[in-house]
């Protein structure tokens, strides 16, 4: 028995000693990387890295160039739009975001998760990224990150931006941090109605002695009047549930000087933090108004939950649910004040940029919870009087006597512009419609809208002729002209086919006149992420 025990011990010792000892030098790391091939299932489309590409943007001043930002892996892909399908415009290898995405010499803690892209110049695109919370600077010709000078005013408290140079310092960076420590207005409440001070009592936040929290979920970016505006959704606890918490939304303001070499981005010293009037600001859209004023329109979708299935019914419910009212806030880019808000009710606005007609008269957006369009009249903005410091923003729903009861609402939750459902489309109980992207044609007579659920592209006729009164009357001015099935509707029947229609862009110019080839471009989410070129004769 003892001999057997010795054998056992000897064997164990051999395995113990030789196993890990020898194996450490013999084990491998998997050699070459597995190269996964990704192809497009549709001749009109080009496959992208990863699924659900989060953003598409046209380059300003260039007729046939765009950039698409992808997530897994994270890239910015330059495209030429003159062919079907679109083709890559970059000549070199498309880079992915490096492990130190902001170029500060410190590896990222979480890594950026791209949320969208906006091209503000032919040589500068901006990618908003959550988790790492930053806006990345990208060369839209190559997709590579580029360095800008990021400076911090000496007057800012050092706690404001933990990931930026110290106040009074500057550095070359490939991104500007949006992880800001902000102090909400006194008495501010979260989307559940609980005082923010309860969740973040003074002393527990990032600023000493006051209620404060760090901004999260970098969502949209826009350039207006030399300032960069970045919306921060500030989703708090219990994401992905029926009742998540949203902290008061914020638009961060940076000064952006494109005339220097390199360009210089600086958090605005005085008015760098603007709190929104409603929860979940997901997008900012620059507006150079017909009257020559610069505004930024902030899409506040309202707090958003996931509709829970009611197990007591045989119907499967799903989709988004609005937990609070939506609004479009108006920031005066000159004064950096939130000067007005257009309440839209429980509209649960789409997360994409607003579509603004070429005359700058109306702005449209979709809905994350239905097959609806919402719109506001931009004409009243030019008539807004200056807002005194401390005054609440003008309310453009006909109730604010300070602006003569101006009402900018054209289509709101109570009176939407409904879009038709696809015959044989998505199950209305599971996917009742998600009008993702909206875009105008070159002359402003057609509005295009994509529906995630049905995979359709709907064309809406827009008649702004003859200086219509404000707000633009809905009767006779707007109507659905056509609807095309672009990809399959989501749901059980779509397996094996592209689905999940997303953002849209319309190529500048008049098709058949200014250019030949495709005129409308859409993103498709799954199973492969796609950029598709369509010819719908948008003009």
């Amino acid at each position: 028995m003892r001999a057997r025990a010795r054998v056992g011990l000897l064997a164990a010792g051999v395995a113990w000693a030789l196993g890990p000892g020898c194996s450490a030098s013999g084990s491998g790391s998997g050699g070459g990387a597995p190269v996964v091939t990704v192809d497009s299932p549709d001749d009109r489309c080009v496959a992208l890295p990863g699924q659900f590409p989060p953003g598409l943007a046209l380059l300003p001043g260039v007729a046939d160039r765009a950039v698409v930002v992808t997530d897994t892996p994270s890239t910015v892909v330059p495209f030429a739009l003159d062919t079907t399908p679109p083709h890559v415009a970059a000549t070199g290898r498309i880079p992915t975001f490096p492990a130190d995405s902001d170029g500060d010499g410190v590896r990222d803690r979480f890594g950026p998760r791209p949320d969208g892209v906006e091209a503000i110049a032919t040589d500068l695109a901006l990618v908003t990224a959550s988790f790492e919370e930053e806006v990345l600077f990208v060369d839209p010709a190559s997709g590579a990150l580029r360095r800008l000078e990021v400076a911090v005013p000496a007057s800012l408290p050092p706690e404001r931006f933990a990931n930026l140079p110290s106040p009074g310092q500057s550095a070359l960076r490939t991104a500007v941090s949006t992880l800001a420590c902000v102090e909400p207005p006194a008495g501010a409440a979260d989307s559940r109605g609980l005082p923010v001070a309860t969740r973040f009592p003074p002393g527990s936040g990032c600023l000493a002695g006051v209620t404060s929290y760090r901004t999260r979920y970098t969502s949209g970016v826009a350039l207006a009047d030399g300032h960069l505006f970045v919306s921060m959704s500030n989703l708090g606890d219990d994401a992905g549930t029926a009742n998540p918490q949203f902290l008061p939304g914020v638009v961060l303001v940076y000064d952006l000087d494109l005339t220097t070499a390199p360009p210089r981005a600086t958090p605005h010293a005085a008015n760098g933090v603007i709190f929104t009037s409603a929860f979940n600001p997901t997008q900012v859209t620059a507006l150079h108004s017909a009257g020559g004023r610069d505004f930024v329109l902030v899409t506040d979708t309202g707090a958003l939950g996931i509709l829970q299935d009611d197990p007591s019914t045989p119907v499967i419910d799903s989709g988004g649910i609005a937990l609070s009212d939506a609004a479009i806030d108006v920031i005066d880019a000159a004064t950096l004040q939130l000067v007005a808000t257009v309440p839209l009710g429980r509209a649960l606005l789409s997360f994409d940029r607003l579509a603004i007609d070429p005359t700058k008269r109306v702005a449209f957006t979709g809905s994350a919870a239905g097959r609806n369009l919402y719109a506001i009249d931009l004409e009243p903005l030019d008539a807004l009087p200056p807002l005194a410091a401390g005054d609440r923003p003008y309310r453009l729903d006909g109730s604010d006597a300070r602006v003569g009861g101006a009402d900018a609402r054209i289509f709101d939750f109570g009176h939407p512009l409904p879009l038709p459902a696809r015959i044989g489309g998505a199950d209305p109980q599971s996917c009742p419609g998600f009008t993702v992207g909206t875009a105008f044609d070159a002359v402003g007579t057609k509005l295009f809208a994509t529906d995630f659920c049905d995979g359709t592209l709907t064309t809406v006729g827009v008649d702004l002729s003859g200086s219509p009164p404000s707000p633009v009357p809905t009767s006779g001015r707007f109507g659905v002209l056509a609807q095309s099935n672009i990809v399959a509707p989501v749901g059980a029947g779509a397996l094996g086919r592209p689905r999940g229609l997303g953002s849209i862009a319309v190529r500048p110019g008049r098709p058949g006149v200014d250019y030949t080839g495709p005129d409308v471009f859409v993103l498709v989410g799954t199973p492969e992420g796609l950029l598709c070129a369509l010819r719908v004769d948008s003009f």
Partner: protein
Amino acid sequence: MPLIRFALATGALALLPLGGGVRADDAAPAPPAVEREVPGVVARGVTPHELPDDPTAFTTVIRTDAYAGEGKTAEQLLSEAVGVQVRRLGGPGQPAEISIRGSTARQVIVLLDGVQLNDAQSGTVDLSTIPADLLDRIEISRGGGSLQAGSGAIGGVVNLVTKRPGAEPLTRAAVEGGSFGTFQGSLTHSRRAGGVELTAGYDGFGTKGDYEFQRVQERVLGQTIAFSPKQLERINDEAESHASLLRVGRELGEHLHASFQNSAYYDSRGVPGLDSGNGPTGGQSEDAHERKTADVAAAVLDASDVAGADGALRVYDRFQRIHFTDPSSTCGALDSENENYALGTRGEVSREWQLGPSLHRLSAIGDVHEDRLTSTEFENRHRLASDWALQDELSVLERRVILAPALRYDLTEGFDGEWLPRIGAIVKPLPWLRIKGNAERSYRAPSFDELFFPDQCFLRGNPNLRPERARNFDAGVEAGFEHVFFLDDVRLGGDWFRQAIDDSIVFLLVSPNTVAAENTGPATVNGFELHASTRLLGWITLAANSTLFHAELDATGTPLPGRAEHETNVRLEIGPPSGLAKLVGTLQHTGDIPVTDTGLTKIPARTVFDASLTVDAKQLPWLGPRVPAQRLLVSLMGRNLTDRSVRDALFFPQPGRTVAIRAEAWF
């Protein structure tokens, strides 16, 4: 969504004369690892969940002793079997699931000594938690198996048979250490004494699992795009497991035998998740963790030749508790505990009659069991299921022609009853040639997850799901030769199979923020299995198999994702018949794996080489006399020798090359 892997079969089976009364059988080649069953090998009580003498199914039996010293896990053994693919979601200790003939993991029933391991909640079995050292053999039945196992067996049935005592007492001890801080050890003892049979065993496993891996690169847009960083270390990949086996049996007179057995399991592991993100960890979870305890128990009373009939009565239960925590989930902190409990009883009886020129073996089975789910995240659920089956095995012409018509009625609470007819046939026109075929209906009732997963964090079940229903067909031909020129024990075979599945259940996107289970319409799998084995010069055994199939969604013709439509296995074993030493090399080629339902995103094909060298120190002249054991096997094993990047699922990396040393003593 499993892949399919096809296997290499080696086995003494190849030595069996085909004309000599082979009944339960199959088409798997290759000595000595895989053997074919002959009457009596499927011993009374060993496979009580099967209809007795179901002679027509395409089956493979893997005897673990044939792999002694090679240190193969149960999932590795399965992955080398013909018609089987194993989909691993990480390295050792991380989940692995099975696919047979292009099925999903939920469409394969896994039994432990006849007790179903698939729980009603997930419908799947994690193969990584099953220790091979406690197994005597693995029986794989390919193709529709609902007659045998009821709901779920659309792709096939796997029966894991634990160790049994032989004629002499036997104690085995094994220890193994290898790459990435991986250790495994086992101790088993079995004996017969005073009419009592005893088997007891323990198996322990642990790994740090901190291997480096190459991240996926995408070939898209005419160039190759890489994640940053390109290489990472698998984090939060520690795993630990313990398993025990106790089996006691006793003869009760001439005709009765009673046994009780219990298998207990404990597993604790990190859940590193996907490597699909950015940042220093690539999106891997740093602190998600799963802890599982499970117990399977059965009491069996076997009867033989009572009034001319054989029978068995079994009472069994299965318990499983899984505690999962993820403090930093994107859906907020998760902390859930799910308990699955099953209790059932099963009776079976069979009797032979000679009616004129035909010999009939009539078998009847009845089974009633209840599944219960107690959960912190679900509403508690339970359902009762019962089934009744009748089969006649009719043989004529000295068993050269066998017909086996059968009918089963299954009733699962919440669903309509299912009539499951089956017919199988074997024709042996020549002693060395066998032709067989089967046609069968099979079905699968949706799991609790598919039906009732709570509406949270973008995922939910669907209580309106219909069962998956399938029509299974297969046919095969097999030939065996004692000698073909210089080759001995030549065995050749080819099988065709088709599975037409209605109402496949898939989790898919149904809204911008919801993934739900849905019936997605019909899908079809058509394929072939080819297998061959031989020996030469007495020292060399060569076996190979290859499986090709096309699994597609009928509506679009697009491939079903997660399955490689081609896999080939080759095994070369060199060593003297005495067992002094054994050098084994294996090759597994896996074709492209489509990962999306269009089939246009594909993990590339790969070929992986493994090798092992085992020496029985007891047979070394200078050492053997001093070794106080029957056998002392010392092995050096290398896996994935060429250090290929291996992934069965897009964002679940597996280790590159690993090496291990193993010592195994038999007393």
